[in-house]
Amino acid sequence: VTTYVALLDGGRREESIEVRMLGPGVYEVRIGDTVRRVDAFRHDSGTVSLIVDTESYSVQLDQRVNDVRVHIRDSVFPVEILDEKRLRMRRAAGKFTVEGRQTLLSPMPGKVVRVLKRPGEAVGEGEGVVVIEAMKMENEIKSPKDGTVVEVLVREGQAVEGNARLAAVE
């Protein structure tokens, strides 16, 4: 039996899952008090056919850098699956917070078209700090908290990569 911990809602919710293999492709899965017999058939890198009891699901697993996006029918669930070792490492690294200094990252590669705030300026939660143009659309990168802009790391006209540091708010 292997026990996994699934982090849901961006780490706000945890669920413990026990998996036991009964035979090739057949598993017993326990979540809380519920035990299910699961027949899993992996079609290709992104698609798994699951028969849970008798209900059949075509499940899409979109593996990203930090999580897996599980698509079922119209729903998408971002799930981070950790075994015990990874969970301990995660716990040691601390929790999500907007306290203290927050760095604004570029969510995608693009070009800085405007810098809306200067270092030292006050900023409200949800207020734009930098405008990035990508795919011909302008996107405001907003402050996650009320505070002060302590650093601006980009200039107007500058090209930035995805995850580039743009500014810091404290």
């Binding site: 899993a40 992104g46 119209d74 996107n139």
Partner: protein, 510 residues
């Protein structure tokens, strides 16, 4: 436009799904084809599908796809005798059109003069007004000074629309709700317009409350036969960008359809139009229609008309460029209902932020009545430089209800991994009761913003966890087995053999 002659080799001056779309028909017609590509598009699908391909420079479109001289040079290099511009980029530029003809290359599109007349939206409005076509109230021409523009907007009253004189496709277009918001939006529109069209002239128009956007596809041949092929209802728009298009429109009856069709033909004739064009109208609550603009090119949503009429508009464009006649008005037949949904690389949950990146997995729907006009493949990295549309999915069925059900089904089978797409959003649009009833307008996406954001259905959360955990288990299990197999193989080797080798290496006594 000079005289028509047969085309042997066609250069497609575009990228993405439309380049692929045009190449498909060109190949069916037995033409040799040439693709052009920027440095960011070396791996793009259209490059692979063409017989020849020419690099035209750095990723930003201003340095590649928008440089007419480079395109014409590529045509000369490969001996292409015609250029199809697709939509966007250079497709509506009269000067590019002339440059092609000057170099003895046929431009697959209308005469340059017709593009000029319609291309500057402000002069088009003036011409249509003169031809007796009703237009939306607005500024007579482009306004250079932002203060002056604001004064004009203050005068006609808010809300107003700021529009790019060279515009199209929603780029450089902003709705201004109140006077205080005018200047920042004007500046944003100016930048967007300059970057999308290389022209930053803007004008101001009165914003009609809750209008519907209905457009008429027209087609004309060189002999002067001009026909209308029916309408497309494009009122499902987000930030002036079309999202879902359908034909027929729920608000048109046969009389109004014919009236709009005839006005559209009159508009096309007024500028000596040849080839495929679209006359866009706004229809207000009292079903009065106003001329909005004419797009002098193939439209993104042209497949909607193709599915309803059974025609291949790209083939017709190429035939017209070769001097062949098109069908007569009474030969145009429309049957059933077609709907198109635009699949964008964007994240609706994050304010529709573009989501460029590598497509790690792609599986697209099939089955009767489904058409996927795509420009991507598994492994392709969607570049940040261009429009985020990756595909258009269409459904055709005898009735509107069936077409909607079919498109919902098709989108359910549309799987893109690695980047985030608006597929769940599109399904929510098609399922929405207001869309289903047919009573919707261009405010639809805004009005139902919250309902259209799909929240995960809690009843599937358990299955999601099971799937993720079983996949993790399988991965860990496979890894452990593979490791054990390798370690085992190592241990299984003869120890005598190992000692013998070690001795030989040391060069000791044998």
């Amino acid at each position: 436009m000079s005289e028509a002659r047969p085309i042997q080799k066609l250069l497609v001056a575009n990228r993405g799904e439309i380049a692929v779309r045009i190449l498909r028909t060109a190949k069916e017609m037995g033409l040799r084809t040439v693709a052009v590509y920027s440095d960011a598009d070396r791996g793009a699908l259209h490059v692979r599908l063409a017989h020849e391909a020419v690099n035209i420079g750095p990723p930003p479109s201003r340095e590649s796809y928008l440089v007419g001289e480079k395109i014409v040079e590529a045509a000369r290099l490969t001996g292409a005798d015609a250029i199809h511009p697709g939509y966007g980029f250079l497709s509506e530029r009269g000067e590019f059109n002339r440059l092609c003809w000057k170099n003895g290359i046929a431009f697959v599109g209308p005469p340059a003069d017709a593009q000029d007349a319609m291309g500057v939206k402000t002069s088009a409005r003036a011409r249509m007004k003169a031809a007796g076509v009703p237009v939306v109230p607005g500024s007579e021409g482009p306004i250079a000074d932002e203060r002056e523009a604001k004064a004009f907007a203050d005068g006609i009253g808010y809300p107003v629309m700021i529009k790019a004189a060279a515009g199209g496709g929603g780029k450089g277009m902003k709705k201004v709700e109140k006077a205080e918001a005018f200047l920042p939006l004007w500046q944003g529109a100016k930048r967007e317009s300059a970057s999308a069209f290389g022209d930053d002239r803007l004008y101001v128009e009165k914003f009609l409350e809750r209008p519907r956007h209905v457009e008429i596809q027209v087609f004309a041949d060189r002999a002067g036969n001009t026909v209308w092929l029916g309408e497309r209802e494009c009122s499902v728009q987000r930030r002036q960008q079309k999202v879902v298009e359908e034909s027929p429109s729920c608000i048109l009856d046969d009389g109004m359809r014919r009236a709009m069709g005839e006005v559209a033909v009159r508009a096309a004739r007024a500028v000596g139009y040849v080839g495929a064009g679209t006359v866009e109208f706004l229809v207000d609550a009292s079903r009065t229609f106003y001329f909005l603009e004419m797009n002098t090119r193939l439209q993104v949503e042209h497949p909607v008309t193709e599915m309803v009429t059974g025609l291949d508009l790209v083939r017709m464009q190429i035939e017209v460029a070769q001097g062949l006649p098109i069908l007569r008005q009474e030969e145009v037949v429309r049957r059933g209902h077609a709907i198109e949904a635009r699949v964008y690389a964007e994240d609706p949950a994050k304010g529709f932020m573009p989501s460029p990146g590598r497509i790690s997995y792609l599986r697209v729907p099939g089955g009767p009545g489904i058409r996927d006009d795509s420009g991507v493949y598994t492994g392709w990295v969607v570049p940040q430089y261009y429009d985020p549309m990756i595909s258009k999915l269409l459904a055709w069925a005898p009735t509107r209800e069936q077409a909607i059900a079919k498109l919902i089904r098709g989108l359910g089978d549309y799987h893109v991994h690695g980047i985030t797409t608006n597929v769940p959003y599109l399904r929510a649009v098609l399922r929405h009761p207001a869309f289903g009833s047919g009573v919707y307008d261009t405010g639809f996406c805004q009005a139902h913003q919250k309902e259209l954001l799909v929240q995960p259905d809690a009843q599937y959360a358990e299955v999601a966890l099971i799937a993720a955990a079983v996949a993790a288990f399988k991965r860990d299990h496979d890894d452990a087995e593979a490791f054990a197999a390798r370690a085992g193989a190592q241990a299984g080797r003869s120890s005598w053999l190992r000692i013998g080798r070690a001795r030989a290496l040391r060069g000791g006594v044998r």
